[in-house]
């Protein structure tokens, strides 16, 4: 465990970048440091690998004061990823990744074999091995940066805004990749970002810092969203904190209605049987079970359903994996006000109204049910 104990950093010019900060960074999980620009995130991170020495206070790694450890061996036990990847332009991708194993005295052949293994792990095609950094996209370079940091299999990974220089879609891909890698490797990751959404998506624990390097709140993301410590944190979380919090409630809490679903080849009796007073619309599905669109029951002519005239069904949500946020989104986007739940194969498994989603949200809040984070 990394323990930061009332650490202060005062730069020679008098700037207090970090002010009596104490944090316990749990093992094998992602701890995110987030806050506005200049609040001391980078300084804090760099004190962990002694790129910056604290003015006061101590940092311990598994109980040992890091200032007593030889600086280079300490750094080699911690992967370090920076914003623009910081790749060595004169070395090929495979040799960039092999840097730390080489520093640790491993043979060239073994280091390169290890580097290729890591390329696969971070989702890079091995055919890129012999390229130079300038021949890669920003997102690919960032993956190389992560692979290079992981090459010597360090227990700790320090990441300073690693994904902030790529576009939002690439960033999302990199974040998912990091979560997947973390699931496989279980590193102790300290991740710096100024993007609260990234913090919430990635963090097991999130430390919100305020300007002047003071800790505002240290909590799991769901708790941050449900009970921000003060106005600063609340402000930093942004306006749609309530909506974002729904990401932490699984959609499975919803009770689906399965009756108002008819296949496109239904008979008049089947349509009649599925029409109930509390569901003004019927969802028509194809023969494969996938949703086609909504219709009022009286507009459906058995044996002659015109798919082109159905109302669009918006964006369905995956019942097993999505959150209440996705369900709410689906209901809001649907012209009928009803969201469609699908299974992994995209087949409609039920429908749910905006009202029902609202009730589920109230129930979830009441229970304070903050189960494991779910996607979307």
């Amino acid at each position: 465990m990394i323990r930061i104990d009332s650490v202060t950093k005062r730069y020679p010019d008098g700037t207090v970048a970090v002010d009596r900060l104490s944090l316990e960074i749990p093992d094998r999980s992602i701890t995110v440091l987030v806050g506005p620009s200049g609040c001391g995130k980078t300084t804090t991170l760099r004190m962990i690998n002694r790129m910056v020495e604290p003015s006061e206070g101590t940092i311990t790694l598994d109980g040992v004061d890091i200032s007593r450890q030889p600086v280079n061996s300490l750094r080699r036990s911690m992967g370090y990823v920076i914003q623009n990847a910081g790749l060595f332009q004169h070395r090929t991708i495979v040799d960039n990744i092999a840097t730390v194993p080489r520093l640790l005295g491993q043979s060239k052949a073994r280091s390169r074999a290890r580097a290729r293994e890591l390329m696969e792990r971070v989702g890079l095609d091995v055919s890129l091995a012999k390229r130079y950094p300038y021949q890669l996209s920003g997102g690919q370079q960032q993956r190389v940066g992560v692979a290079r940091a992981l090459a010597a299999d360090p227990p700790v990974l320090l990441m300073d805004e690693p994904f902030s220089a790529v576009d939002p879609i690439v960033r999302k891909g990199l974040q998912e990749e990091l979560l997947r890698i973390q699931e496989e490797l279980g590193k102790t990751i300290v991740f710096v970002t100024h993007d609260i959404d990234e913090a919430i998506r990635l963090g097991t624990m999130v430390a919100v810092l305020r300007t002047g390097g003071r800790l505002a709140q240290f909590a799991p993301p769901a708790e941050l969203l449900s009970s921000p410590a003060d106005a600063f944190v609340e402000d930093f979380l942004g306006a749609d904190r309530g909506i974002r919090r729904l990401s932490f409630f699984p959609a499975q809490a919803l009770e689906l209605k399965k009756t108002p679903i008819v296949a496109v080849d239904s008979t008049a009796e089947q349509i009649a049987a599925r029409t109930t007073p509390e569901t003004p619309y019927l969802l028509v599905t194809g023969l494969d079970g996938r949703p086609l669109g909504w219709s009022e029951p009286e507009d459906l002519v058995a044996g002659d359903i015109d798919v082109a005239r159905l109302l669009p069904y918006g964006r369905p949500f995956a019942y097993g994996t999505d959150s209440l946020r996705a369900a709410l989104d689906g209901a809001v986007l649907s012209p009928t006000g009803w969201a469609v739940a699908v299974d992994d194969a995209g087949r409609a498994v039920g429908v749910v109204s905006q009202q029902a989603v609202g009730e589920a949200i109230r129930a979830a809040h009441a229970k304070g049910l903050t189960a494991a984070k779910v996607a979307g």
Partner: protein, 222 residues
């Protein structure tokens, strides 16, 4: 007679191609002085430039040395050295080295300073010792500029090494000085042409060295 006829006359004269005053001998001598001066200047300029560049200290001192030594007249220095040390190779080497150190030193310093700081930061953060950061991260990135500094030093040396002839030594300068003395303009022009050709060859050599020594990743990205 124009210059081209002089050049033609000089190079087609068979007697200019052998003997102690033949072109091969004089070229070899000239190359010998030049390479020696360049080597000494590089041994002085490169390490100082690399280390001051790496630590970012001493930039002002380097700028001072550079301007100061540029103000020194090479020929004056030669005369001074001869008066002080007498005739020989030493008095020739000193002005040549003084001429060559500043471009090497200044460009090396600047080249290291201008290397992208983020790979250096990454290298330090992964526990690379400073010496390795300098040699394996900064130097490869700075190499194109450093070679440029060496190249201008080399060209200045090659064209200035003619001064060796003033103190009774050989080299291509012999043709120029003897030619002027004998009013043999064919010889003067021939010597000057040789110097120019040698300067062009030097350019070619540095181009080839850069092709081999500079990583394609740096060449293409910079």
């Amino acid at each position: 007679m124009n210059v081209l006829t002089f050049i033609h006359a000089f190079f087609s004269d068979g007697s200019h191609w052998h003997g102690y005053d033949g072109i091969p001998t004089r070229l070899t001598e000239h190359l010998h002085y030049s390479l020696q001066a360049l080597a000494i200047a590089a041994v002085i300029g490169l390490p100082i430039g690399l280390i001051t560049g790496h630590y970012g200290r001493g930039g002002n001192a380097i700028a001072l040395v550079a301007t100061g030594s540029r103000a020194l007249p090479t020929f004056g220095l030669l005369v001074l050295m001869v008066m002080w040390l007498g005739f020989g190779l030493g008095p020739v080497m000193i002005p040549l080295v003084v001429l060559a150190v500043p471009p090497i030193l200044v460009t090396t310093y600047e080249a290291v300073r201008s290397v992208d700081p983020s790979p250096v930061d990454a290298a330090r953060g992964m526990g690379m010792p400073e010496s390795r950061i300098l040699l394996q991260v900064e130097l490869p990135g700075a190499l194109p500029l450093i070679l440029g500094g060496l190249r201008s030093a080399a060209i200045q040396i090659v064209s200035t090494a003619t001064i060796a002839a003033y103190v009774g030594l050989g080299g291509i300068g012999r043709y120029i000085i003897d030619g002027l003395y004998q009013r043999n303009y064919e010889k003067v022009v021939g010597g000057a042409t040789l110097v120019a050709v040698l300067a062009l060859v030097t350019l070619g050599v540095f181009w080839a060295v850069a092709r081999v020594a500079v990583s394609p990743g740096v060449r293409r990205s910079g």
